[in-house]
Each structure stands twice: as C-alpha cells, then as structure tokens.
C-alpha cells in the first residue's frame, strides 16, 4: 500500500477549498445552532443564493467582481430576512422545516428550464469567475506547496483566499461571542422567555443571528463557486447542508474553532477512508467488489457514518466540546 500517497491525499483533502468552504459555512451554522439554538437545515440555500448572486450579477449585469461579491452577500441577507420574519416568532422547529424546504426551492428554481436564460438551468453558469483570479499572486501554470503536497496556482489562490476568510469569520465570531451581544444569543439558546423577561428583544437578536450566519453561508457559496469557476445548481443540494452539520458536530457545537477543525477532520476522514479502501483492495485484503463502480462511494460513507455514530456514543461533545456542559442540557 502506498502510505505516502494516502496521507498526501488526506492532507490535500484537509486543506482543500471544499474544506475551507465547509469551514466558513459551518461558522455560520455554529452561530445559528451552536450559539443561538436556531435549527437551520438549509445552510446550502444561503450558499446557493450567494453563489448565484455573484454569478448572475456578473454574467447578466456585467457587475465588477467586488460589486458582485457584495450582491452575493446581500442576497444571503435577503434570504435570511425572508425566512426569519415569519418563523422566528414561532418555535424552533418551524425554522428547521422552512429552511430545509427553502434550500430545495432555491435549487430547483435556479435549475428550472423557465429561468435558464438567466440562471443557466441545470448546467448553471460558468466562465464568469476570471475577475476573481486577477488579484491572484500565484502563477496558474506553476505548482505551489511543500514536498509532495502541491497544487496549481489558481487552486492555491482559492485555498489561501478560502482559509483566510475562514479565519476572518472565525475571529469575527470570537469577537462577538465574548461580548454582551454574544451573551444574549447564548441566553436565547437556553431560554428565550427568560431573555425577554430581562428586557431583551429576543426576536431581533435571533434575526441578527440568522442574518449573520446566513451571510457566512453566502460567503462560503461564493468561495465554492469562484473556486469551481462555475455555479451549478446540483452543487447546492441538501446533503451539503448535512455534511456541514457533520463537520460542525465533529468539531464540537458552540465552540469557536470547531468549524475549522471539524471541517478539516471531515474531509481528511473521507479521503482516508476512500484511499484506505482502495489500498486494501489493491493489496488483496478486501474483495474488489467493495470499491467497484459506484459502490466505492457508498461503502466509504457507510464507514464514515459508522465512525460518526461511534463518536456520538463515546465523544458526543466533538473535538472541542465540554462534555459536562453538554450533559447539562438534559436537566
């Protein structure tokens, strides 16, 4: 078995732009769920409107990249307000239902034939992201990296950009969560009525939280679509939301650094399990039927799922969580 390539691939997966995108989106989800207790099952919807906001404003309206970027984020704000206004006065479950439905509605709308002149139907829109690469200090024809871990210039640019943004949003979250503002959010997570009785407008704070986390989701979508140089509707399907949830829970809900490390861990585990299976088949320890064709992906996710189930049993608080704190919930 080629251990060095297995680990090289795992590290590449851990620092990949997808991992950075998941980290940014998970920071948003962490603000929603980890700090405010909002059940958002449609984070991918925020990513989609961010990505389409940028793509459409460039292809249809010739917007410069910086303006397109702002429009993408504003689209996420609008979505957060649309979802929040009717549901945030209700119990937490309603937001969950509405967000998961909304994310599918968004995907199917952008995908629809009727709008294909505008959003490109199921093919999406591509070839609009060049403007974002003009700032790149990397030469697209060269490979950058350490030792055997090397990526091409454009990819390196997105990785640097993505992780810088991931760290920036994490620091913003840290600044907010140590403040009295963050304290109100955490208090809302524990008991909304108590917060209202103490003179805070819980609805307003929940809305702020939904918008902020949604904007981070939109940012993640923009990074993903710029990295792929295309915005394609099926890249924003519901499983993405749940992978982001997985990354967040892996890291530990309600912790500052858990989205980043949870996301890295999630992608490394996926890559490791994949390459290990392949390697074991190659040396004849496993029957080749396991990885043949589409089944390979399925078995990989079975293993990852099993691993997560074990994590929930033995370390429910994730990598960074505090088990004692977590157990308080049940009282």
């Amino acid at each position: 078995m080629d251990w060095s390539s297995i680990f090289t691939n795992a590290i590449l997966a851990g620092i990949s732009r997808e991992a950075a995108v998941f980290a940014i989106a998970a920071v948003g989800l962490n603000i929603h769920f980890g700090y405010t207790g909002l059940l958002n099952f449609g984070q991918v919807g925020f990513m989609a409107v961010g990505a389409y906001g940028v793509g459409i404003s460039i292809t249809q309206y010739n917007a410069p990249p910086w303006l397109a970027f702002i429009i993408g984020l504003l689209a996420a704000v609008v979505l957060a307000l649309l979802l929040g206004v009717p549901t945030l006065r209700l119990r937490a479950d309603y937001l969950a239902i509405v967000t998961i439905a909304a994310s599918e509605i968004i995907r199917l709308t952008f995908r629809s034939v009727a709008l294909s002149d505008w959003s490109g139907g199921s093919n999406g829109i591509s070839g609009w992201a060049d403007g974002f690469y003009t700032f790149s200090p990397f030469d697209p024809s060269l490979r950058y990296g350490i030792g055997t871990i090397k990526v091409f210039g454009n990819q390196a640019w997105i990785i640097v950009l993505g992780w810088s943004l991931a760290i920036i949003v994490t620091i913003i979250t840290w600044l907010l969560m140590r403040s009295p503002w963050g304290r109100v959010l955490k208090a809302i997570r524990e008991d909304e009525d108590a917060v209202r009785a103490l003179g805070k407008n819980a609805y307003f704070y929940k809305m702020q939280s939904l918008v902020l986390g949604g904007v981070f989701g939109g940012l993640a979508g923009i990074v993903l679509s710029v990295g792929q140089s295309t915005v394609q509707p099926d890249a924003y399907s519901p499983p993405v939301t749940f992978f982001i949830w997985t990354a967040l829970i892996l890291g530990g809900v309600g912790r500052i650094w858990s989205p980043i490390f949870g996301s890295i861990a999630f992608w490394m585990i996926l890559s490791l399990s994949n390459n290990l299976l392949d390697g074991l088949v190659n040396v004849g320890l496993l029957p080749s039927a396991i990885t043949a064709g589409v089944r390979g992906g399925a078995v990989r996710f079975i293993l990852v799922g099993l691993g997560l189930a074990l994590l929930m049993v033995f370390r429910p608080q994730g990598m960074f969580g505090d088990r004692n704190e977590m157990m308080l919930e049940d009282r």
């Binding site: 403040s179 503002w181 955490k186 009785a197 103490l198 003179g199 308080l328």
Partner: protein, 345 residues
C-alpha cells in the same frame, strides 16, 4: 441597606386605611388594571373588573388551581395578550400590545413558576445578562471590546454585590445548570434585580424550595420592599402569604373575589368557599328527580362580601342551632341505614 432608606419607608399602617373590597382604590397604585378579559375559545380564563396594586407593598395573589393567576400574571407582564383590557403602570397607560422586553425596560420584571435559569451560562453571566441598556449588546459596538468593557466592569461589580447578598458568591463561575432547585430560584430573583426594577412579579417563588431556603427567600422578598420596590407574588402556601404579604388578592374562576389583609382574608367566606366549594358544611339538596343540586348559588364578589359580614355577625347560638339540626339529620340518616343500625345500637 443603609439606615436612611429604612427610615424613609413607612411601615404599612396604611393597610388599615384601604377598604378590603375587591377592586378597592389604593392611595398610591403602581399598577391599575381595568376590565381585563382573556378568553381561550369559550373559556374565560381571566375577567378582572378593576384592580389596583399599591406601591411599595407586597401583594400576594392567591387562589385555587385554575383560578387564572398565572394567566393574569402573563397578561400583566406581556407574555400573553388580553382579549380586552387597560393597564396603567406607573401612571402611564400601556399600549394594547406590549412586549415583555418593553415592560422590563420600564421596570416591571418577573420570574417564572418553572425556574428559567440559563443552564449553560455561568452564574455570573446569568447575572450580567439582567443589566439594561448595555452598549455591548448592540451588534457593531460588540465587536470592539473597549467600547463596552467599562460598562461591563460596572455591571460585574453590581452583579457580584447581588451574589454576595444572596450568598451565591461561591457559585459564581459554575454553570447555572449545576445549581439546585432552590439556588436557581435565588439566582432568578437576583438576576431580575439586575434590571433595576420598580415592580417585581414573582410567580410561585417558593414552589419546590426546601423550608430552610424558604426562610431565606422570604427575607429577600421583604428586603425588596424595604428597598422601595413593589412586589406581587403568586403563592399557594398560606403560611408564606401570612408571613410577608401586606395585602392579599384572591382569584377564583378568573375573577377577583376578595381583597384584604392576610388575617382578614382567611376568614373571608367567599375565599373559603372558593377553596372548599360553596356548599361545604351544607346538606345536599335534591331536585324533583332526586338528583343533587350542586350549582344552585354561586357567590359573586358583592354577595360574598355581604356573606362575610353576615357570617361575622352570626352568633354562637345560631351556629349551635345549625349544628344541632345537622346532628339530628345525621342521626336520622343513620337510623335509615340497616348496617349501621346494628353497630350503633
């Protein structure tokens, strides 16, 4: 608690000056409720014609289960909207739709029957949350610690003083979720004081608290009055009511049926009827078909008042006569029962 403040607080001799009638006027009401009705479908849960709550008194709100006390509490504190009604707080008429947060900003704070400690926040963070007008609770200033750190220090100092007063300093850094039930009650009360309230509304502050801690809590409630606050509390334990309440308001079936001092209220016929049923001690009456008549007569507030007066005037002879009649009837019933017959004979 400085002595000077103690001096300025008049003892509650003015209790005697207030007419012990449901809906009576008070010399200086902090809260006035008029024709407040709350319907849940066909059920009228609260129907209060008029209530005034005297400033700087401890007013107890009592009543049997289902009397509408908690609903009334929720209506007053903005957690529920009345079907109709007018509330005046501190002389200002409140808008029809008023939110709990607005009321808390104005100085009306409440606690809950099921204690709402913020489990995964430390005790001191629970306390800090109570402070009003925090700059750091606004989104943009929150990002810059220098903008709010001074205010935070002041708040922390005040929170620590309160924790000291409530003997909870040793729990300062613990998660509120690790506290015992009684400590949570203490924390909730202390936290509510962080809002600088003028009117404190306590929903069953003593429920589920061990007797030793009850005494402590009672002292704290009395302290609130001594510091110039007004307290309204819902309670089931009559001993508690007797010990700390200046004035008692009794609710039954959504209405206020009596008001008065704790002493007077326990002798009030309407109150006793509300708790035990209006026919306790009376013989059952039967209609033509031989079915018992239960709801022949329900005392209204006025009738109850009259009844109370009449009761007081009932002389011992009258009572003895009734007693004798009852005994005679009981004997008759016994005689009609063959099983008992053998035993008593």
């Amino acid at each position: 608690m400085s002595e000077s403040t103690m001096d300025t607080i008049a003892p509650r001799q003015d209790v005697a000056e207030v007419d012990p009638q449901p809906g009576s006027t008070k010399p200086d009401p902090i809260l006035t409720v008029d024709t407040m009705v709350r319907r849940f479908g066909g059920l009228v849960a609260v129907d209060v014609d008029h209530l005034e709550v005297q400033r700087n008194w401890i007013t107890a709100l009592i009543g049997p289960n289902g009397a509408g006390k908690t609903t009334f509490f929720n209506l007053l504190t903005g957690f529920d909207k009345p079907s109709s009604g007018v509330v005046e707080f501190n002389g200002d008429k409140l808008p029809e739709k008023v939110s709990p947060e607005k009321l808390a900003n104005d100085g009306m704070v409440r606690t809950f029957q099921l204690t709402k400690s913020l489990t995964r926040l430390s005790v001191i963070e629970n306390m800090r949350l109570g402070a009003q007008g925090q700059l750091g609770e606004r989104f943009l200033p929150a990002l810059f610690k220098p903008a709010w750190s001074d205010q935070e220090d002041e708040i922390t100092t005040r929170a620590d003083e309160l924790l000291e007063r409530f003997n909870m300093t040793h729990m300062r850094e613990e998660f509120a979720g690790t506290l015992s039930g009684g400590q949570r009650k203490l924390l909730e009360m202390a936290r509510s004081l962080m809002t600088h309230p003028t009117l404190v509304m306590l929903d069953e502050p003593m429920a589920g608290v061990n007797p030793a801690l009850t005494q402590t809590l009672l002292e704290h409630v009395k302290d609130l009055r001594d510091q110039g606050m007004t307290v309204i509390f819902v309670e089931h334990d009559m001993d508690v009511v007797h010990e700390i309440a200046d004035w008692v308001v009794v609710m039954a079936e959504g209405r206020i049926i009596a008001e008065g001092t704790p002493k007077a209220i326990s002798k009030n016929k309407a109150v006793v009827d509300a708790y035990l049923g209006s026919h306790h001690g009376d013989d059952l009456e039967f209609d033509a078909e031989g079915n018992p008549i239960y709801e022949k007569h329900r005392a209204t507030a006025e009738e109850a008042e009259i009844a109370a007066k009449v009761d007081a005037e009932l002389d011992a002879e009258e009572r003895a006569k009734r007693e004798a009649a009852r005994r005679g009837q009981a004997a008759q019933q016994d005689a009609g029962n063959p099983d008992d017959d053998g035993a008593t004979a």
